[in-house]
Amino acid sequence: MAQARPAKGRRETPVPDAHTLERMLYYLKLTREAEVRIDQVLYRQGKIVGGVYVGRGQEAIGVGSSIQLMQGDIVLPSHRDFSSFLIRGFTLREIFCNWMGRANGPTRGRDNTLHIGDIKRGVIPIISHLGDTCPVACGVAMVLKRRGNGNVALVHFGEGTTSRGDVHEAMNMAAVMKLPVIFICNNNAYAYSTPTEKQYAVKDLAVRGAAYGMPGVKVDGNDVLAVYSIVGEAIARARTGGGPSFVECKTFRMTGHSAHDAAEYVPEQLFTQWKKKDPIPRLEKALLAKKILGAKRIKELEEEIKQQIDDAVAYAEASPLPDSATCTEGVYCSDQCWWSNPPAE
């Protein structure tokens, strides 16, 4: 990752280079395949227990956002932003180990799904309590602003989460303090079974930006290039002292809320409509048309992706479950017990 440098003045809309475009397609496909393995295969085989949430159909949001992050930036993904972890350097092996509760996963089996964090790699994970990472992002941004390296914090949350007080308190605080944080709403039309009309009474949540005195824009969340440029503008603004932004990414949850939810409450035609807007073929077509990638290269990527996932799953399955005796370790951070992120001296 490149070093963040506070650019002089406001940048123009960022455009991804060919290399970045390929990486975006790669991460889109990798995310899609990895999550299919999780909810379609491992969960059904009983190899993953507990709640299982995936971001199928909305992968472009995490990819188009996190791909732009620089060293020192921090992302706080939602429970559906699998791609952010990959882009920030978590390996598939680590991630699958965590999903399967293995001792060598990043949480040592203490927490599940994508509750995976590592400050060095710039990822702070959610807790299940929706919206709680928004204030945390403000605190992160306070520090980034003070350090003056032009770094930013990116926090994702669903449209249902915007109803929680913590999101409000955080957005207001960020606006008052002009913090370099970008609030990204993954608006996938449902909060569990709750449609947007039961969640809020405005057409676009983007209008919330104006209520706090920050830019609020909506973008097609299934168009990774649009996400890239809109979020990119917000990031550029934040890097150069322009303060926070709110970005509403319109997308759709192409699965149930979790693996056990058949989503019977979602009208069938919505799935068929949104299938057409699948972000992956959209980018793939564009890249083929622009001759940025050839069909052959894409095949290679798909091969590579399948192998990586097979490897990671095999690795995770072969990894040990935690020793039950470790249950009581690491409640407190002391010299004996803590395995990452020592506080700066």
């Binding site: 709640g51 203490r110 929706l130 109803s163 969640q199 409450y265």
Partner: protein, 324 residues
């Protein structure tokens, strides 16, 4: 008598109160058409309509606060927390608004906040918590935690009829694992009354919720080697049934305090103080606590198994105490 699961018993209890009293209504996330994350309220929207089965946005504090407002207007709201873990987001409205109104200005606040709590289903640190003590320590609230289907129905009905804010902890591990014959005739189980689940003579085990079953299993095991456990199910944690607890301790003269919640500041402490204060002469051995260790609830099955008090742990503790 019809066979009902613990979950069906709760549904039936709420349903009957909705039929009986038009002032009873429900609010919460995904409780309407979807019937709730665990389907406790399934069918209620169809039967009682949108005015009495209200889907809300994701806002626990507003859900509880709105329940208080409706209760002040003479209604009897029943608010669902999708998981009781998330009650921390509505915490302030419960402990400062709901709990203190009657003491401050004499208005009744008849409401119920209910939902699934407890571990054992690999839910991880945020879908497995036992959060009853925050509320047991808050004067003005009542706290209920049923262990059986019969009690779950009778207690939810009593909670809805109570004129005070009641925090009702359902144990998600029991939802579908327990099936009992539950009378179809009208009944309620009064708040504040414990019950002796098994008579015994050597050691009183005071517990509640899912751990009642752990205690009963342990009692079977111990019976074989001649140690007789008495199992007391508190059912209501606030106000708790001091008389029943003290009587059982005096009878057995030894006591094990058992709960799934973590140890420090847990219910076992409160009970220990009351026992060591009022039944001191009756005690023939140290007061023993068997609880979860003081950690968050870990996700991975081996860790979660270690976290949860087990039949083995109760048996071991009882054997030691018996030989004291």
């Amino acid at each position: 008598m019809p066979l009902l699961t613990y979950l069906e018993a709760i549904r039936q209890g709420i349903w009957e109160e909705m039929e009986r009293d038009p002032s009873v209504f429900l609010l919460g996330e995904d409780i309407g058409a979807y019937g709730g994350a665990f389907k406790v309220t399934a069918g209620m929207l169809e039967r009682f309509g949108e005015e009495r089965v209200i889907d809300t946005p994701i806002c626990e504090s507003a859900i509880v606060g709105a329940a208080v407002g409706a209760a002040l207007m003479g209604m009897r709201p029943v608010a669902e927390m999708q998981f009781m873990d998330f009650i921390s987001c509505g915490f302030d409205q419960i402990v400062n608004m709901a709990a203190k109104i009657h003491y401050r200005w004499g208005a009744a606040v008849p409401l119920v906040v209910r939902g699934p709590s407890g571990a054992g289903v690999h839910g991880g640190p945020f879908h497995s918590q036992s959060n009853e003590m925050w509320f047991v320590h808050t004067p003005g609230l009542k706290v209920v935690a049923p262990a059986t289907a019969y009690d779950a129905k009778g207690l939810i009905k009593a909670s809805i009829r109570d004129n005070n804010p009641v925090i009702f902890f359902e144990h998600k591990f029991l939802y579908r694992r327990i099936k009992e014959e539950v009378p179809s005739e009208e009944y309620v189980v009064p708040l504040g009354k414990a019950v002796i689940r098994r008579e015994g003579t050597d050691i009183a085990v005071i517990t509640y919720s899912a751990m009642v079953w752990t205690a009963l299993e342990a009692a079977d095991v111990l019976a074989r080697d001649g140690v007789s456990l008495e199992v007391v199910d508190l059912r209501t944690l606030l106000p708790y049934d001091e008389q029943c607890v003290l009587a059982s301790v005096r009878k057995c003269s030894k006591v094990i305090l058992l709960h799934e919640d973590t140890m420090i500041g847990g219910m076992a402490g409160e009970l220990a103080a009351v026992i060591a204060g009022k039944a001191f002469e009756g005690l023939d051995g140290p007061i023993v606590r068997v609880t979860a260790p003081d950690t968050p609830v870990p996700f991975s099955p081996p860790l979660e198994a270690r976290f949860l008090p087990s039949v083995e742990k109760v048996v071991e503790a009882a054997r030691q105490l018996a030989s004291y």
